[in-house]
């Protein structure tokens, strides 16, 4: 009898708080989006599952002694995002960007979204009850970088309490890129601009691809050492791939290692979706600002392309500017798709891959500035 009462008092039904129930529903929603809607499933499925597990009463899976508590150290110490960045680096082909380097500027322009969201977060301090510090605003802004590992890395350093909401916002909007970007792209360009065909890209030699990650790292060392953890991991992964002499390491970095870390990272991020941390007005602010950041980033990229078109002798289709937000490779695909609507023979995919990977570099640089200037 005592046992039965003790058992009843140890059930979830007895111990639930309303916040936990709500956060589990958020977890299930993420699973639904990942599985049924195909939203970034590689991250949102583990994140959603982690959210459910960490909100189970009594079990303490995200507390000391529990699985997610220990896995979270991989984020806390900054290991997981950097290892993912290394794997992504090994998967990335800088060829299209090297063939047309001026598209790097599109990747720069799109980072305006980061700082727009940062300023927006600070402006929201007007709203009574909402309070964002500079650190928090910066961590929110980085959602606009449209790059998961960068957002998680910066948030883990500047605002670990907001990590869950920021990661969810970043990956959700990356999944929503095909819905968010096209209307903005169409609104800011004329039919004639969207029809612009671009010159075929030149061939890029293996040597250039080997030297590039080293040049990128060197520049980052000279100008912005605070960005070198991110840039360095990325360049290391890329060099393993392009050098061609350590294929077995490159393959492992791109496959098993990144897969293992992705599982652990997703579950750990989910463990930060606790009721106390997530069920706050702040979260609504973060979600809104994230959307603003993506929209402004997209617009800035497109406008920059239009500006460059005035001064460039070779034509640039402004649609590829939208790919500057990163969200690799989705936003490049979106540029390609919107371009095909206006001109069915105009394949922009390869041209958009340049600004797309430039956007990754751009947001790593912006992250470096934020990490360096905000104490």
């Amino acid at each position: 009898m005592e046992n039965l009462i003790s058992l009843w008092q140890s059930t979830g039904l007895y111990n639930f708080t309303i916040g936990q129930v709500f956060m589990m529903l958020v977890g299930f929603l993420l699973l639904y989006l990942a599985i049924k809607k195909g939203f970034e499933p590689l991250l949102l499925l583990p994140i959603g599952f982690g959210a459910i597990l960490s909100n189970i009463p009594v079990a303490g899976i995200a507390e000391e002694g529990g699985l997610l508590y220990y896995l979270y150290f991989g984020i806390k110490l900054g290991l997981f995002p950097l290892l993912i960045f290394m794997g992504v680096g090994a998967m990335t082909d800088f060829g299209p960007m090297l063939a047309n380097p001026k598209t790097l500027l599109l990747g720069a322009a799109a980072q305006v979204g980061i700082f727009a969201a940062l300023l927006g977060a600070l402006a929201l301090n007007i709203v009574p009850g909402l309070e964002f510090s500079l650190k928090e605003a910066a961590a929110i802004g980085i959602i606009g970088g449209a790059d998961g590992p960068t957002a998680i890395y910066v948030a883990s350093k500047l605002a670990p309490d907001l990590l869950g909401a920021i990661a969810v916002a970043a990956y959700s909007y990356m999944a929503l890129v095909p819905l968010i970007q096209p209307p903005i792209m169409r609104a800011l360009t004329t039919e004639a601009e969207r029809k612009i065909e671009m010159q075929q890209l030149r061939h890029v030699s293996k040597t250039e691809k080997i030297i590039f990650p080293l040049a990128l790292l060197t520049l980052s060392i000279l100008l912005l050492p605070s960005a070198t953890p991110l840039v360095g991991a990325f360049a290391f992964g890329n060099l393993m791939n392009t050098s061609g002499v350590v294929d077995r390491l490159s393959q492992t970095a791109q496959n098993e290692l990144i897969n293992i870390v992705t599982i652990f990272l997703g579950l750990s991020v989910g463990s930060k979706l606790s009721a106390e941390a997530f069920l706050q007005v702040k979260t609504l602010g973060i979600l809104s600002l994230g959307a603003v950041a993506f929209a402004i980033g997209t617009a800035s990229g497109v406008m920059m392309a239009k500006l460059m078109n005035r001064f460039s002798d070779t034509p640039i289709n402004p649609l590829i500017g939208a790919a500057g937000v990163s969200a690799v490779p989705m936003s490049a695909r979106v540029a390609n798709k919107v371009g095909l609507e206006s001109n069915p023979h105009n394949f922009l995919l390869m041209h958009a891959m340049g600004p797309n990977v430039a956007g990754v570099i751009g947001s790593a640089v912006a992250a470096g500035v934020l990490l360096s200037l905000i104490k």
Binding site: N3, L7, I84, M91, D147, M174, V328
Partner: protein, 79 residues
Amino acid sequence: MAELMSSGLELTFAGMGIVFLFLTMLVYAINMMSGLIQRYLPEEPATSISIPVAPKNTATDKSYIAAITAAVHQYRSTH
């Protein structure tokens, strides 16, 4: 010793009780779930399923490969 045994017996009754309760409820849950799914989310007969095996619009870091492979392929084929 006697106390220990009585704890053990209590544990056994509670334990087997919960195990049977849990799995019996799971039987009902499965029957309900399968019934609902077969009624409201039936598999389309000949062709494939309602839940896409290949996600339609993923933009994940890790689909880099696929996209870049495709892109590089197209790019190389023009050189």
